[in-house]
């Protein structure tokens, strides 16, 4: 499989498959495909796997792409203005915010993951339910805004605004901490808590969440008055 990720803030991932290769994506992600490509929806892994995928923000059915007797190309697009990120899952399991999975090689496994701590689930900004991407091969995730990737060394800590952590390697410890004193908590705009990500491992941070984007657009939405 060969791929390119193109575009600025509404990116494509363009995947070229050889005749015997296959690629999976979540339902609705396909933007285009060549004439020799066939897609088929399948409840990959059975009903329970499909249900878990669905709960994690992906789709009950996955789309399977396979070129017919030659190489073919399929292009996927994200659902929100933002970036697409390529992840080599063979080098480590990743935990991602729900709905971020876009597509992957068939050897990649998408599963449901839960926040381990109740406090992180309630106040970390990512909720109880996350996506776990494991196995072997390339996977693609999409998130709103621009993305930064940081490789944390053991013991290094990044404090991230709640809900701005897109993905992190399983080795990274996810927790919350107080944002600051009473002045910061009341007037800092970050609320009571920030998310803390402690290395070792890679983390992906977004500049803007979908909720922030929606909130920023509200004053400019047309009304009937």
């Amino acid at each position: 499989m060969k791929y390119t990720i193109t575009g600025d803030n509404l990116q494509f991932v363009n995947v070229e498959l050889a005749a015997d290769e296959e690629f999976h994506s979540q339902a609705g992600a396909m933007a285009y495909m060549t004439g020799n490509m066939r897609m088929e929806s399948a409840m990959e892994g059975g009903f329970m796997s499909g249900l878990k995928r669905s709960i994690s923000g992906s789709s009950l059915f996955l789309l399977k792409y396979k070129p017919q007797g030659g190489s073919g190309v399929v292009g996927l697009g994200g659902r929100v203005p933002g970036k697409i990120l390529d992840i080599d899952v063979g080098k480590g399991t990743w935990i991602c915010q729900s709905s971020s999975y876009l597509g992957a090689e068939p050897t990649v496994r998408l599963d449901l993951a839960f926040q381990k701590k109740l406090s992180s689930a309630l106040f970390g900004g990512e909720g109880f339910i996350l996506q776990k991407i494991s196995g072997k091969g390339m996977a693609f995730i999409a998130a709103c805004g621009d993305l930064n990737v940081v490789e944390l060394k053991p013991g290094e800590v990044y404090k991230v605004s709640t809900s701005n952590a897109v993905a992190w390697e399983e080795s990274v410890k996810y927790d919350i901490a107080a944002a600051g004193g009473i002045k910061t908590a009341m007037f800092g705009g970050e609320g009571l808590f920030v998310t803390t990500l402690t290395g070792p491992g890679k983390i992906v941070i977004q500049s803007m969440t979908l909720a922030e984007l929606a909130q920023a657009l509200i004053p400019y939405l047309p009304n009937n008055n």
Binding site: M1, K2, Y3, T4, I5, T6, G7, Q11, G35, N36, R38, Q68, K83, L85, D86, I87, D88, V89, G90, K91, G92, W94, S119, L122, F123, M138, D146, L147, N148, V149, V150, E151, E156, V157, K159, E169, I176, A177, A178, A179, G180, G181, A185, L192, F193, T196, K202, V204
Partner: protein, 109 residues
């Protein structure tokens, strides 16, 4: 050349399936309308809906109240955490741009 290599996979059975699904949806809507037209059915359904909405609202309010009450003790317990005597560099922060499988370091991981 492309036309010469074009093949057609039949979708007749799929179309028939779609028609059957559409008929099924119409039948379900008709059944619901018929039930609602029975005397007393609408009143019973409205009562059930009101109770269900009140219960859902109650659960949501209780959940948010518990979360709000838990936030303050947790805020006190967690404290503001910060490190001292460690250097971080902006060079460690890599922006996500266009990429490809041909890149020497493809894949984020």
């Amino acid at each position: 050349m492309a036309d010469a290599n074009m093949k057609k996979a039949g979708t007749g059975k799929s179309a028939l399936g779609l028609v059957l699904i559409a008929i099924g949806i119409i039948a379900i809507i008709a059944a619901v309308v018929w039930v609602l037209m029975q005397p007393g059915a609408l009143e019973t359904l409205a009562n059930v809906a009101i109770v269900a909405i009140l219960v859902i609202f109650g659960i949501i309010i209780i959940f948010y109240a518990v979360v709000a009450l838990a936030a303050i003790p947790l805020y006190a317990m967690k404290g503001e955490q910060y490190q001292e005597g460690i250097d971080y560099s902006m060079d460690d922060v890599q922006p996500v741009k266009e990429s490809s499988s041909e890149d020497p370091k493809n894949g984020t991981s």
